[in-house]
Symmetry: C2
């Protein structure tokens, strides 16, 4: 079931790292949020490690309390990827844009322009947006899910239709014949949906990979149908191998239902490693990174996960024997079993939390070999086609992952030694596509 | 009335140059449309010449027949300016975006991000868009003018409100105090208009110039009111000095009516020079650049301008004495008088056209000194505060203007010898502004 080698993407959001306290790490550049030179350095490190892609998650809203935390999102993902396009050569450049709050013509134009500027390395993570505060930034509310996804299908199809509206051989550049292009091959698409429409054409020639690659994030029946029809890459957040295998099976089934080959679509599982010379050092690093976090709230949350009324007073104590006897992992949270497992090892509650048991991705805090072992185990169990790495701090974490973990994975034959080619499509193993996918029913035309 | 020295901007659209046949010029890079390296080279040339700004005009539509002509617009202006931001240091980076077909939150975010990435050199030419084919790319029609401009006011105010929503001293970066920022100073704006709204805040710190500078293009009472209230720079297309003086007076009056100082706002007059070692060589260059143009149509157009039934048969003949006696310049077209003046010099009709008498900007086809003379004459007559240079071909035209015309203007004291400072605001002589302009009535809040 698994592909032979894993696909790796580095998450790259906010500016400092996946850990809330990354901005405070000694030696880190405090101004990273607005410092393009830093981002270039990180991207170049990832490229040195032959990482297939960078991914900037995005929601058009300030969704974090900046009093203590750095922003979750970049100042603008498309502009930052444009900067990186010029200062890297092989790594894929993927970001999120909302199908609900961006006009398809603008989406089509900016992503295809990025694809041209990067010589065929752009990817669009098409999401519908679910945060009402994001909607309010557009003077709107979040539409009902069915309507939101109906629009998403229309928008993706319009965008892909526009991408194909400058036919591959339309550009003539015939100086003697005075023919710049063949206008018969640059024609309106006239796509008219219920929620969105565009006439076209979009006057942008094909990139080296034709057009950007589509990604999708998050499951649910609506999300799966979207992924099944359009995506080449899918971001998922499974907490356990079983969870991941079930998500991957559901995804592959959705791809088959859309009449496509499941091997065309790669599921990347979110993963948050902290890499240090020892497990103790890794925990210490995470404890520092957690200093900006409200641990009182977290310890209560941990208690709810394992069925115990825990409070801040116990932060620097382990669970008592009585507590361990009473604990019951919540059946509703797939992280609970691991949380209890770590608690049983006798760590203080602060350290249990430092293991990342309640984080939004599986965490390994340990050595490079620990990190590689975890990835190997998941990959070989068919849990995913690769990982979306949320490194705790970009400042030294990109280098640590690339210089310490990647060589282990390569040595074990789990990760490629070099890029397969110059485009994201090649490095991801995605199918060729220009314009709409002819295997899908064509959308309505006006 | 005139500022002491002129402001110069280079127009930078489409990829090849202002002349329709620029893409065919021997030695020019045929792939310029998609070649960022070229654009960087041109921008760096302009910066060598201390040009205050680059301007990418834009309409989100393919509005040219690509069979013979290159596109009028760039693949994406904001992404291209982002590339240039990284590879230049002082030159201002201005582009158009539509107040009608882009959401204000997206506009605010991308322009302020460009402003941060360029260290305070971004400008937004806020236009309402009038091409129905552009509207069709958004599944829409062009709203009635009053409504379109009502929305434009709202959108500009929302954008500026969002720009100011991260207060200047909100960013703390206090490692020991664990304070990333002061959230009391990063607050929603809750701007609610009739046509557009946004909650905010926009989580982007100030750039070196605070926020982007606003430009406006095109007159009319609606356009003037927009310029009067918000703009620091205005693009105008006068054909004659009288025309220009009248436009400049109308602009300055509109600025005063809005309670602002007219010297805050610079009117840049469009101007199309062709620079060559002699007038004959310049005409020859323009004849080559015109080879892709439908001269039969142009010669009829010329006839209409000077009240004569002209046809293609006469292309290589001058006007006869009888024709010259009968000719009457059209009172409706300010270019007509000059067209007849050139025809009286005895040029063939092909050469009359090569003088640019029916182009959309005043043309000088001649030596660098001819070009500088024209600019001096206009500037000293109070016709404008500077020029928006539409050079015929970027390939060699940026260098020609910078290396030949700029030194003459500098020698005559008409143009600065170096940038006044690192930001566009400083180099344009624009007023300081962060957030909404407190001199204007504040917009409604929800
Ligand atoms: C791994 C992962 C990454 C995601 N990235 C984004 C993102 O960048 N931006 C966003 O708005 N939503 C993101 N989402 C959210 C989903 O796209 C989706 O909105 C969410 O699952 C809620 O689904 P709904 O839209 O059906 O309510 C992500 C979800 C997952 C699991
Ligand atoms: C010098 C100049 C530059 C302009 N640049 C643009 C541009 O880049 N994009 C655009 O859509 N319109 C541009 N316009 C058009 C005006 O913004 C305006 O739309 C036009 O004058 C019609 O006005 P209306 O919107 O009131 O109908 C320009 C006009 C002038 C005079």
């Amino acid at each position: 079931m698994t592909s032979r080698q894993m696909i790796l993407g580095m998450q790259f959001s906010g500016g400092y790292g996946a850990a809330p306290g990354a901005w405070r790490l000694p030696g880190a550049n405090l101004n990273s949020y607005t410092d393009m030179d830093q981002f270039v350095r990180y991207a170049q490190a990832a490229e040195r490690g032959k990482i297939q892609l960078l991914f900037i998650a995005d929601t058009p809203v300030l969704d974090v309390d900046l009093d203590h935390h750095a922003p979750h999102h970049m100042i603008d993902p498309l502009l930052i990827l444009t900067v990186l396009a010029r200062e890297t050569e092989r790594i894929g450049l993927v970001t999120t844009a909302s199908t609900t709050f961006t006009e398809p013509y603008n989406l089509a134009r900016q992503f295809k322009a990025l694809d041209v500027i990067s010589n065929g390395r752009a990817g669009w993570n098409a999401v519908t947006t679910s945060d009402p505060a994001a909607a309010a930034n557009f003077g709107a509310t979040i539409p009902p899910r069915a309507e939101k996804y109906e629009r998403a299908h229309e928008v993706i199809q319009i965008v892909q239709g526009l991408w194909g509206s400058w036919e591959k051989d339309a550009w003539l550049l015939d100086v003697d014949g005075k023919r710049f292009a063949d206008m018969d091959k640059i024609q309106p698409v006239n796509l008219q949906g219920k929620h969105a429409a565009s006439r076209g054409p979009l006057p942008i020639p094909p990139s080296e990979q034709g057009q950007p690659v589509i990604f999708q994030a998050g499951g649910g029946s609506y999300g799966l149908e979207l992924a099944g029809r359009y995506a080449s890459g899918v971001y998922a957040n499974p907490y356990t191998i079983e969870d991941a295998r079930a998500q991957r099976k559901a995804l592959r089934d959705a791809v088959k239902r859309a009449g496509r080959d499941p091997d065309e679509v790669k599921m990347l599982a979110g993963f948050m490693p902290t890499i240090a010379p020892s497990r103790q050092a890794a925990l210490e690093r995470r404890r520092f990174l957690d200093e900006v976090v409200d641990l009182n709230q977290r310890v209560r949350y941990l208690g709810a996960m394992i069925g115990l009324p825990l409070g801040p007073a116990q932060l620097d104590e382990p669970l008592t024997a009585d507590q361990l006897a009473d604990a019951i992992p919540s059946p509703h949270d797939p992280r609970s079993a691991r949380a209890l497992e770590v608690a049983r090892e006798g760590w203080t509650l602060r350290d249990v939390l430092a293991h990342g048991v309640i984080d939004y991705h599986p965490v390994v805090a340990g050595t490079a070999a620990d990190v590689a072992d975890h990835m190997q185990q998941w990959f070989e169990a068919g849990a995913c086609d690769g990982f979306s790495i949320a490194i705790d701090s970009y400042h030294d974490g990109f280098d640590a992952f690339v210089d310490q973990v990647v060589p282990i994975l390569q040595e074990r034959g789990l990760f490629h030694d070099d890029y397969e080619g110059p485009t994201l499509r090649e490095n991801l193993g995605a199918h060729e596509q220009y314009g709409l996918d002819p295997r899908l029913t064509r959308p309505a035309r006006s």
